[in-house]
Amino acid sequence: MSTAEQFTSGAAPAADLSLAMYRDMATIRCFEEQVNELYRGAKMPGLAHLYNGEEAVAVGVCSALRRDDYITSTHRGHGHCLAKGADVALMFAELLGREPGYCRGKGGSMHIADHANGNLGANAIVGGSTGIATGAAFSAKRRGTDQVAVCFFGDGALGQGLLYEVMNMASLWRLPVIYVCENNLYNEYTHYLESTAGSILDRPKAFGIESREVDGQDVRAVHAVTSELVTRARNGEGPAFLLCNTYRYHGHHVGDVDRGYYRSKDEEQLWLSERDPLVLHGRWLREQGLADDDALRAIDDEVRAVVERGAAFALDAPFPEPGEVTEDVFA
């Protein structure tokens, strides 16, 4: 965590940014709770992997990016998508398989893409987007822009050989890509220590990649270290790897409710009560006098209203016409 503290103790972000980060995290939290409701109410087809508990990672990282920077996301991608600027209503529409959804209902939760905001898509193949993010960085460099690409993936993706193939190329060619590993302690139902040998950070280091670790529950720390790595990348100093230590509150997916056999209630309780990114950041905002309880409650209320409107919009939205099934196979 040393890196993390180093940055939290460093220059604090501007007031408006700090409040924006709170709002974005609150939006994700509220969005995911709504998704869970829709699932339990049998209103959402299929399953969804909720991001609750990990909000500070997506928000801390994406708040350090420009709209034209790229991200690639995962099966647990709602947070990344929202943090990169997606519209709540259009996201709900996609999750419900409706026509106005970001992917016309063809992608769903595991494939939401928001090209306009640089989100090249969630991915249902663990580690499957590491090549795409690296290629987007390659493209930015070749086209002579100063865009960067961020590749989000979980601790489980450390098991996929593709990650090492592309980190090698990113390092060789000094590509502006940042690999963000969201270590929430579990690959599905298996603790990452049972599937991950040696040291996570030593892996990118061995490929000559600048590697950092940060407290993934501290949004300001994530923002600060990401900003530094993004600046390096924009200046042509090459790729980086950021290990974010975090935790998912819900099950692996909405249907994973009996978790006793792979993690303890105590562990869950500890992260909820001691390490919640919203609580921690809210406390800091109050301590800094940047917001009082009313201000934060106001944000929470606004966010809830936006989420409820978005869900309502989606529930009323039409499904795609059956005939659309054969559209979009080829450009």
């Binding site: 398989g97 209902g105 595991m110 494939h111 663990v126 489980g156 599905e188 139902y189 059956p322």
Partner: protein
């Protein structure tokens, strides 16, 4: 009307296809120390689908092994273990992830015996899935059996009933060659009669699931039940449909398919893989060539639409062969459309 088992069943009872798979594994794990299971979340979790529940409790984590998320790696490890005296059952959670193991499967496992002039053997079973309509979208809904069936050196099994699943999986584990065993995720809950006693089902023997005279419906995996349901409807309309299940794509019981089609004079082949360059092409070509002089109508093929599987229910339901589509095709072939 499944073919009689090698050893006669003492008693009958109904279990699900998932239970049949679980029993087959448990029995083979008991009788042969060299058998082990490796895959993601196969131990305590018993897979995300709970198909392997209970195995780790009986056989321990040495034989029911949770692996990292490394499909290529565990398949490669399985090939090496198989070459050196073990009988691995590699669990690949979704058939869509076959994309990650094709080198270890097609270039290594399938070819080692041949390339070594018969010296090396790879008694490996790779269990995985097929099938859409679970609202899991394009990367969790594919039916890629055509890929593996195309590779010499691999045997490919697609069970359609609990009875077949158990007998075929036990045969797969005892086979000295790499076997790709593919289950439809939607079939795990399907119940069927399964004898208590041990039995094996040989590869390359198709099973006539229903006899008929007017049209032959060849189905694979869950498409067999689609064909049986269609046959019911057709019967009411006076069309007698024969339903044939190849059970193994390789070896393929070409004679059974050709004989049935020659008898009825009409054939429809149904598989959930994409239609183009898929399993239906091979089955249709085999029948069209072998039963050429007996066919009264062209062989019809029903496969998944040639589109990535969409998420939205209204779209996904358009992509798979249905009872109605099969029945309609049969009526047309029989001149009742």
């Amino acid at each position: 009307m499944s073919s009689p088992s090698v050893t006669a069943p003492e008693a009958l009872r109904e279990i699900t296809l998932a239970q049949a798979i679980n029993e087959a594994l448990a029995e083979e794990l008991r009788r042969d120390d060299t058998v082990f299971v490796i895959g993601e979340d196969v131990a305590e979790a018993g897979t995300p689908f709970k198909v392997l529940s209970g195995l780790v409790e009986e056989f321990g984590t040495e034989r029911i092994l949770d692996s990292p998320i490394s499909e290529a790696g565990i398949t490669g490890l399985g090939v090496g273990a198989a070459m050196t005296g073990m009988r691995p059952v590699v669990d690949i959670m979704f058939g869509d992830f076959l994309t990650l193991v094709m080198d270890q499967l097609a270039n290594q496992a399938a070819k080692a015996h041949y390339m070594s002039g018969g010296k090396l053997r790879v008694p490996l079973v790779l269990r995985t899935t097929l099938g859409a309509t679970r609202r899991s979208a394009a990367q969790h809904s594919q039916s890629l059996q055509a890929w593996v069936a195309h590779i010499p050196g691999l045997k490919v099994v697609l069970p359609s009933t609990p009875y077949d699943a158990k007998g075929l999986l036990k045969s797969a584990i005892r086979d000295d060659n790499p076997v790709v065993f593919i289950e439809d995720k939607m079939d795990w809950r399907v119940k069927g009669v399964v004898p208590v006693g041990e039995y094996l089902i040989p590869f390359g023997v198709a099973d006539v699931k229903r006899a008929g005279d007017d049209v032959t419906l060849v189905g694979t995996s869950s498409m067999v039940s689609i064909c049986l349901a269609a046959a019911e409807i057709l019967a009411v309309e006076g069309i007698s449909a024969e339903v044939v299940d190849p059970r193994t794509l390789s070896p393929l019981d070409t004679k059974a398919l050709i004989d049935s089609a020659a008898k009825t004079g009409r054939a429809i082949v149904v598989d959930e893989g994409h239609r183009s360059y898929g399993v239906t092409a091979e089955l249709a070509a085999v029948i069209a060539e072998g039963a050429f002089h007996h066919l009264d109508a062209p062989v019809r093929r029903l496969g998944a639409l040639d589109v990535p599987v969409p998420f939205s229910p209204t779209l996904e339901d358009e992509t798979v062969p249905t009872v109605e589509l099969v029945a309609a095709a049969a009526r047309e072939l029989c001149g009742r459309a």
